[in-house]
């Protein structure tokens, strides 16, 4: 009898339940706790909506910022891939003929895909058209522009570094005054975006802690309100896991609902920005359309928010449930 009591099988009259029955009982507990916690939340729609909004806003801020930076990065990467070019400014005493010869020579270089030669007159003509400084140029009397070589490198990806290396090599040629990588500014922009993404990560961590605290604080109150129930469950032999479980499910629902609110908010942000972004892209002859979080991002957001909810609930439950003892 005593050994049986210790294991919780309280009567010799009863057949011990098989593992199937026990598993079924366990699943039944989970299902009822899961459903019951959601039912309780929906019974107080205003309070629940408020918590979902709080969690949603806290999560929408980093995911919205992340989305903006991600889009900016995609745009600028597109630009840099499409316009990888080195401009060679030859020395002023170089003639168009010498420029043409150098262009032919460089055209055979293994790292160079194409060379376009712009003679002194052509360069001046283009400058006139672009700058509209006709008077100034006329006043100079002679053509102040050197011939140019526009170099398209063979490597069409791999970042800015190989481009810079090629430019350094070309700059050592005796005919060349200066070699300039045209996409240098984009590299700086990309570096800035990288920095921004790190800042967003830090912000995400901070706001994740905020979500944890929101859920924990809310649940602390919920647990206090259900003190009577917890006492009775403790008295009739409920384990700590059993007592904790409904609150963990409540945390799960808080987190998931907040995650969905965050999804809605970022979706609305995207919708709101779509038209102006497309207009802006059109000005740059691009058909760029901002992208959303996608399957991957959505999954991470929902999974993360659910996890934060459960973790927040766990913190509150661990602290509170210990202190509630029947008297």
């Amino acid at each position: 009898m005593s050994a049986k009591m210790a294991r919780g099988q309280n009567s010799a009259r009863r057949q011990p339940p098989g593992w199937r029955d026990r598993l079924r009982g366990y699943v039944l507990q989970h299902r009822s706790h899961c459903r019951d916690s959601l039912r309780r939340l929906l019974a107080e729609p205003m309070a629940t909506l408020m918590i979902w909004s709080m969690v949603g806003i806290a999560l929408a801020l980093p995911s919205g910022l992340y989305l903006l930076l991600d889009n900016l990065k995609q745009v600028s990467e597109g630009w840099s891939e499409g316009s990888r070019r080195i401009t060679l400014y030859l020395k002023i005493e170089q003639s168009d003929e010498m420029a043409r010869l150098l262009g032919e020579r460089l055209g055979r270089d293994a790292e160079i895909a194409a060379v376009k030669v712009i003679g002194r007159e052509a360069a001046l003509l283009e400058f006139r058209q672009r700058s509209k400084l006709d008077d100034v140029i006329d006043a100079l009397g002679s053509n102040p522009l050197p011939p140019l070589l526009l170099i398209t490198p063979r490597a069409d990806s791999g970042g800015i570094e190989p481009l810079r290396a090629l430019a350094r090599r070309l700059a050592t040629l005796p005919e060349v005054e200066q070699a300039q990588v045209d996409t240098e500014w984009l590299a700086r922009l990309l570096a800035l975006i990288e920095l921004g993404q790190r800042a967003v990560l830090a912000l995400t961590l901070l706001l994740a802690v905020a979500v944890l605290l929101i859920v924990a604080t809310t649940l602390r109150l919920t647990i206090t309100n259900r003190r009577r129930e917890i006492e009775v469950i403790k008295l009739v032999g409920g384990t700590a896991a059993f007592i904790r479980r409904p609150f963990l499910y409540t945390g799960l629902w808080y987190g998931l609902g907040g995650g969905m609110a965050a999804l809605l908010l970022t979706g609305a942000l995207l919708l709101w920005l779509r038209a102006p972004v497309q207009e802006l892209a059109a000005l740059y002859q691009s058909s760029f359309t901002p992208v959303g979080l996608g399957m991957h991002g959505t999954t991470i957001l929902l999974l993360g928010s659910a996890l934060l909810g459960v973790a927040g609930a766990w913190i509150a439950a661990e602290r509170q449930l210990r202190s509630i003892e029947p008297d």
Binding site: A6, R7, G8, S11, L28, L235, V236, T239, A240, D327
Partner: protein, 228 residues
């Protein structure tokens, strides 16, 4: 079934609730625990429930030394004890059925098992037709009987009752006592804390009497209740 060996309980602040208490309660017996309020009845029940631990001595229930019971085993230990409270401790956020089902749900019983046993327990206390009601809609006597149904639904070998008739008139009290007698005849060990002397006298059952934390009447004192 139940054995106290030189048990003392002193609370923080110096109040001594129980002093050097030794007795045993045989299996399948029904006994009363009586004494003035403050005599230590509640403390004694709390020690059995393992809600409190003795300052000295040992409490053995079903052969288990409660002092050696690890914390994580306490819930499983408590599933072997049915408790009836004076204020019934029913939960008003669920139906009578769900209240009575609670110990079975906690123990992880199947839905079929729960339905069968809850109805059997409600039938025994005469509340079968009210299973869908909220306990707040029940009368005082019905609430107490609902509490009893919850205490016996998992067929525990030990049943404790703390002033189970405290708020009831004599007719209802007799009804409740008849229920306890029936359980004891079915093999359950029953210990009822009460100061309703008229009722206790009418029942003609063994009575433990406490006075200021000491046992002044032990009906089972046959000389071997406690080793020296």
């Amino acid at each position: 079934m139940l054995r106290f060996e030189q048990v003392s309980k002193r609370y923080e602040g110096g109040h001594e609730a129980l002093r050097d208490l030794s007795f045993h309660l045989p299996k399948r017996s029904l006994a009363f625990l009586t004494g003035h309020s403050g005599a230590g009845k509640s403390t004694l029940l709390k020690l059995i429930m393992r809600m409190e631990r003795p300052s000295q001595g040992r409490v053995l229930v079903g052969g288990i030394d409660l002092d050696r019971l690890p914390q994580r085993s306490i819930p499983f230990y408590r599933r072997n004890i049915g408790v009836v409270f004076q204020n019934h401790r029913l939960l008003f956020d669920r139906t009578l059925f769900d209240n009575v089902a609670l110990p079975l749900v906690i123990a992880g019983a199947s839905r079929h098992e729960i339905g069968r046993r809850v109805r059997a327990a409600l039938d025994k206390v005469g509340l079968l037709d009210k299973e869908r009601m909220n306990p707040i809609q029940l009368s005082g006597g019905e609430q107490q009987r609902a509490g009893i149904a919850r205490a016996v639904v998992s067929r525990p070998p030990l049943l404790l009752a703390d002033e189970p008739t405290g708020n009831l008139d004599p007719d209802l009290s007799a009804e409740i006592m008849a229920l306890f007698s029936a359980f004891s005849q079915a093999g359950v060990t029953v210990l009822i804390a009460s100061h309703d002397t008229a009722l206790i006298d009418a029942m003609d059952k063994p009575v433990f009497e406490l006075h200021e934390g000491r046992l002044i009447n032990d009906p089972f004192d046959d000389g071997d209740a406690a080793p020296p």
